[in-house]
């Protein structure tokens, strides 16, 4: 809008924010569909821009995760479907880590068969391991590979039930 008075970005009202969060709670991670973008903890802010559009700040999970671009598109599409025009901005700092996963997200992961990250990501470099097999709860597990089907997962095997399972790394 030419000549319109510039207005600074503002925080949406609590009612609007609750509605927006309700929409985002339905946007799934494309690679781990039981998790929403809110469970992942990658939505850093929602602002109202001076021109009436929304700005959603999204933190990338892993630097090279191919899901990053898809997540951004899915968020904008879901908001557009509800009648909100939005732009997405990338938020690099503070960096996302598995510490940002919500408690609800961790429960959903385990129910889905993926062992949630055990411990804090700040200990990265020391090595970490799942607390228990997500199927039979045995603590006797062996690492098959530090790299699994997606950048965020490692591959483990349970020595009690002998099933292989994914572990969401502390990263």
């Amino acid at each position: 809008m030419m000549g319109a008075q510039a207005r600074v970005p503002s925080t949406p009202s609590p009612e609007l924010l609750a509605r927006l969060r309700g929409i985002l709670a339905q946007v799934a991670d494309p690679e781990i569909p039981v998790l929403s973008v809110l469970d992942l903890g990658i939505v850093r802010h929602i602002r109202l821009l001076g021109d009436g559009r929304l700005e959603v700040g999204i933190a990338p999970t892993y630097s090279g995760c191919p899901a990053n671009a898809v997540i951004k598109e899915d968020v904008l599409r879901a908001l557009a479907a509800a009648g909100f025009e939005a732009v997405a901005t990338e938020v690099l700092a503070p960096p996302w880590s598995s510490d940002w996963l919500s408690a609800e997200g961790r429960r959903k992961l385990e129910a889905f068969g993926i062992a949630p990250p055990a411990g804090r990501a700040s200990g990265a470099g020391q090595g970490d391991a799942p607390a228990a097999c997500p199927r039979c709860r045995s603590q006797r597990t062996t690492r098959i590979s530090e790299f699994g089907s997606t950048p965020c997962k490692a591959l483990y095997r349970c020595e009690a039930c002998l099933e292989p399972f994914d572990y969401f790394k502390c990263l």
Binding site: P60, L92, A93, A121, A124, G125, S145, E146, F147
Partner: protein, 249 residues
């Protein structure tokens, strides 16, 4: 070219070229787990390279984005370390190259996480956790090959000896390095040597491998003077974009 633009390009190009090299293993690694592991490392490095290239483009301020910088520069305009453009060779050669690199990058990101360039600091803070995973992977394999059979020991020792001269460049300071270290945005390469060297000695001892003797070094990739291998790599990497300018997913 400002020192900071040059410095960030060096970091970006080093990651991009190594990601491209590692990508050549996809479908050819000795086991499925190694295929996934190497592909994952390549993906992390590529992701970091994209963030760094985009940052370099903004620093340059000439309107070049990550694609223009990656696909439309010639060999002499690439500033990656000569180490990372070396061919994959056998799995042991790749493991040796990766461990020499990962140990360097881990220390580099630790230092850059304190950079006065906040974007660089954020990229490093994010990358350090990925680098820690890469380091454990390549270090684990170096120990297994070194402390494995007489055959694997002899072969990986030869890999290490052949690649060792390329590590000189990792710790050499030039004008660009001094400039970015002076204004607090970059890390002085020579400052990373003591920690790298100590880590090398510790891992090589566990791998029962001898530390190669220092050797002369004839290339300077970070100043655009490359070995004969980079041109072929870029030709393959850039062919699609040059044949179909502006092609996007």
């Amino acid at each position: 070219m400002t020192p900071r633009f040059h410095y960030v390009l060096r970091l970006a190009d080093t990651n991009l070229v190594l990601a491209q090299r590692l990508g050549e293993w996809v479908g050819h690694a000795p086991a499925l787990e190694e295929d996934l592991g190497i592909a994952n490392i390549a993906l992390d490095l590529l992701g970091q390279a994209r963030l760094l290239l985009a940052h370099a483009g903004r620093l340059e301020g000439a309107g070049r984005g990550e694609d223009e910088l990656a696909y439309l520069r010639e060999e002499s305009e690439y500033f990656n370390l000569t180490l990372v453009e070396q061919p994959n060779g056998d799995f042991g050669d790749t493991v040796a190259r990766q461990y020499l690199f990962d140990a360097w990058q881990f220390g580099l990101y630790e230092a850059l996480a304190r950079s006065k360039d906040s974007t660089l600091a954020a990229i490093a803070a994010k990358g350090i956790k990925e680098a820690a995973y890469h380091l454990r992977y390549s270090g684990g394999w170096l120990v297994r090959l070194g402390d494995g059979t007489p055959e694997s020991h002899a072969r990986v020792e030869r890999s290490l000896r052949e690649l060792w001269p390329f590590t000189n460049e990792l710790f050499d300071d030039d004008e660009t390095d001094h400039a970015v270290a002076a204004d607090g945005t970059g890390a002085l390469p020579s400052s990373l040597l003591p920690a790298w060297s100590a880590r090398m000695d510790e891992t090589l001892a566990r791998a029962t491998l001898k530390r190669p003797a220092p050797a002369r070094f004839g290339w300077y990739g970070k100043q655009g003077r490359h070995s004969e291998h980079l041109g072929y790599l870029l030709a393959e990497m850039q062919s699609l974009h040059r044949a179909h300018p502006g092609a996007a997913w």
